[in-house]
């Protein structure tokens, strides 16, 4: 069986649910208590992307910043993929979506990136559909760390892209 190890980083404003997404994906748990992340937590999960291929995801959960450029450069070394997370209920977390995505795609041109609108359980699907223009860049996934909706799909989709 083929096995690869890939480092992925979750970026985005504070309080958007990056840690919760990881906890849901890795441990299948969720808590409504908000505990701010400082620095970086690293978790690992093996993902089977086909009967004969497994990817070991080394997931770096970074402290949230309101400006992506403030992210410590050393954290980003050797990154294979990015997940940019925003909170669909807080406009402040997606006001700079376009700039941030442009920055990432310019700086890390060949690094796969998934754009994720989290906390989708707090709004209706119709709301997201009707207000999709609010997000300057179309998200790849609307997830809910609380219900687990689309969380595995999102990580697995990125994992598959990393081993292409």
């Amino acid at each position: 069986m083929k096995k690869a190890s890939k480092k992925i980083i979750l970026l985005g404003h504070f309080g958007v649910g990056k840690s919760s997404l990881i906890r849901q994906f890795v441990e299948n748990t969720f808590t409504t208590d908000y505990k701010v992340t400082i620095g970086v937590h690293i978790l690992k999960k093996e993902v089977k992307i086909s009967p004969e291929e497994t990817v070991s995801l080394i997931i770096w959960d970074l402290e949230g910043y309101d400006d992506i450029r403030k992210t410590r450069a050393s954290y980003l070394l050797g990154t294979h993929g990015f997940i940019y997370v925003f909170d669909v209920t807080r406009p402040a977390t997606f006001e700079n979506l376009k700039d941030d995505i442009t920055y990432l795609t310019n700086q890390y041109a060949n690094t796969p990136l998934k754009i994720v609108g989290n906390k989708a359980d707090l709004v209706t699907k119709t709301y997201l559909k009707e207000n999709k223009d609010m997000f300057a860049v179309a998200p790849d996934f609307f997830t809910s760390a609380k219900t687990g909706d689309k969380v595995d799909d999102m990580f697995i989709a990125l994992a598959k892209e990393l081993v292409k």
Partner: protein, 511 residues
């Protein structure tokens, strides 16, 4: 001794580890994370996986990672800064230095927690406010549209009551009509209140300043409410400061509405004693007089914990059927006072009485002596008409409104009335007939009344530029009114209208 102390009190918090090119441990002092020689460094934490990707093999590297969370075998968490030193000289192994700064970062964590929570809470609050505002705007628009729809049928009721009252009826029938009329008036006032509140709340209510005799207004109020007070065996005392200028430039209707509302309320909630209406002038400056208005009663009063809510919409503290009303009066009063840049406060002693105090500026013309007002009633103008019969076009699709106008004008005996129910036919009729006045419904099928007016004004027919066109409408927002005027409408008759309102406006514009 120093060495003994060091042995007792010094707890080294830094670990040194060397690894080979494959990431296997060569040496470790195991200060923080015990690790066996030959083991992969990533057994300490996934953080160390794929290390080689970080370094340029051709040169010396020194890379620092700050605030990295690591766990030891007992699941105890450390927050560390980690340094990597690699060397171009392949014989030298990679050095990893782990500094435990858990205590320092614990403090940083607490600060960040409180900062982030406060930012997130304020963002959420802002969003909630925005949501509430949108909800409020929706409510007000809904109310405005709804009250518009109610006004149309009410026009029929009010107008036909006036018409019916002039027919031969038994005394019993006259009483019934009176009941219908008074119920319709009551309903009309309530709809008016609701619409007014929504207009104030969305900022669409504009003041209409005019020059009027302020002393006369106060005398009228004194007379009206002395009679009403007497009917309830109450005393009504007026203390009016004559230093307040006789002529005032302000929205007379709204000032009257404020005062009437407060005095009516005072009388309503007082069963014995007296109601005092006082008005005192403070300073006069730059054509403005600052006045204090006080309306004091000896009524039931307001509980202290309810004083804050009495100015809210739909709030009526006493819900018993004894005191009728929508609960909008005080909300409207407050809205109007604030629209006039004034302030209103309330003081009350439950069981003893309530005092409302208003402070506001009133504009006045400097030369009071030379100010005069033309008071000729519009309806009186009919005695000075130049023609025996006037030709009037009524463009209106509502049969009820058609019949109401027809009945009212027919009784006067001064009019020929043409009725057109479709917007498209209006222009043709205007071209072929020489009308003296047009009554134009706004929401006409086909083309709306304001659009039709614009077309009429641009027709190459002699009197089309000057013919009075009066809008019949229940759209009472100032923006609508301004639009109608801009489209060329001469004046507006608000629905529901009664006989005297309609005739006043019609006679006003006939030559």
């Amino acid at each position: 001794m120093l060495e003994t102390y060091r042995g007792t009190y010094f707890h080294p918090r830094t670990q040194f580890i060397t690894i080979d090119a494959s990431g296997n441990v060569l040496e470790s002092d195991d200060i923080l994370f015990p690790v066996t020689k030959g083991e992969d460094i990533s057994t300490i934490s996934a953080f160390f996986e794929g290390l080689s990707a970080y370094f340029e093999a051709e040169e010396d590297n020194d890379i620092k990672f700050t605030c990295v969370h690591l766990e030891d075998q007992n699941k105890r968490e450390y927050t560390c800064d980690i340094e990597f030193k690699t060397f171009a000289d392949a014989t030298k192994p990679t050095l990893i230095i782990i500094h435990d700064f858990s205590d320092h970062y614990k403090y940083y964590q607490e600060v960040a927690q409180s900062r982030n929570e406060s930012v997130i809470n304020s963002q959420i609050l802002e969003l909630k406010n925005k949501y509430l505002k949108e909800k409020e705007d929706f409510k007000n628009t809904f109310i405005a549209n709804f009250s518009h729809e109610l006004r149309n049928p009410l026009t029929g009721v009010t107008a036909f009551c006036s018409v019916l009252q002039k027919t031969d009826m038994t005394l019993e029938q006259q009483d019934y009509v009176e009941v219908i009329k008074s119920s319709a008036d009551h309903l009309k006032n309530m709809i008016g209140d609701i619409l007014e509140v929504s207009k104030i709340e969305v900022g669409k209510l504009a003041l209409n300043e005019e020059l009027f005799n302020f002393h006369e207004l106060i005398e009228m109020l004194e007379f009206t409410y002395s009679v009403k007070a007497k009917q309830k065996n109450l005393e009504f005392e007026v203390d009016f400061d004559k230093k307040i200028p006789k002529y005032i430039e302000a929205d007379k209707t709204r000032i009257k509405q404020i005062l009437e509302n407060l005095i009516e309320n005072a009388l309503k909630f007082t069963s014995s004693g007296k109601v005092t209406f006082s008005m005192q002038a403070n300073q006069k400056r730059a054509r403005k007089v600052n006045v204090n208005i006080t309306i004091k009663d000896t009524g039931i009063g307001i509980p202290a914990d309810k004083l804050d809510v009495i100015f809210h919409s739909f709030t009526q503290l006493n819900n018993s059927k004894k005191f009728k009303g929508t609960g909008l009066g005080l909300s409207i009063v407050k809205g109007l006072v604030e629209l006039m840049d004034g302030k209103i406060v309330v003081e009350s002693d439950e069981g003893k009485g309530t005092t409302f105090k208003i402070n506001m500026n009133l504009k006045y013309p400097i030369n009071q002596e030379q100010t005069s007002l033309d008071k000729k009633s519009e309806i009186e103008k009919k005695n000075f008409l130049s023609k025996e019969k006037y030709s009037v076009l009524l463009a209106e699709d509502s049969e009820l409104a058609q019949m109401a106008v027809l009945k009212i004008l027919a009784q006067e005996g001064n009019f020929f009335l043409d009725i057109i129910t479709n917007g498209e036919d209006v222009i043709e009729s205007v071209i072929h007939n020489e009308y003296d006045l047009i009554l134009m419904d706004i929401r006409m099928p086909g083309t709306h009344g304001d659009e039709l007016t614009k077309m009429i004004r641009s027709l190459p027919v002699d009197n089309c530029k000057t013919i009075p066109i009066l809008a019949l409408t229940a759209n009472l927002y100032d923006t609508d009114k301004k639009r109608y005027k801009k489209m060329g409408m001469t004046d507006i008759i608000e629905k529901p209208f009664d006989e005297s309102t309609l005739l006043k406006k019609v006679y006003k514009y006939l030559k």
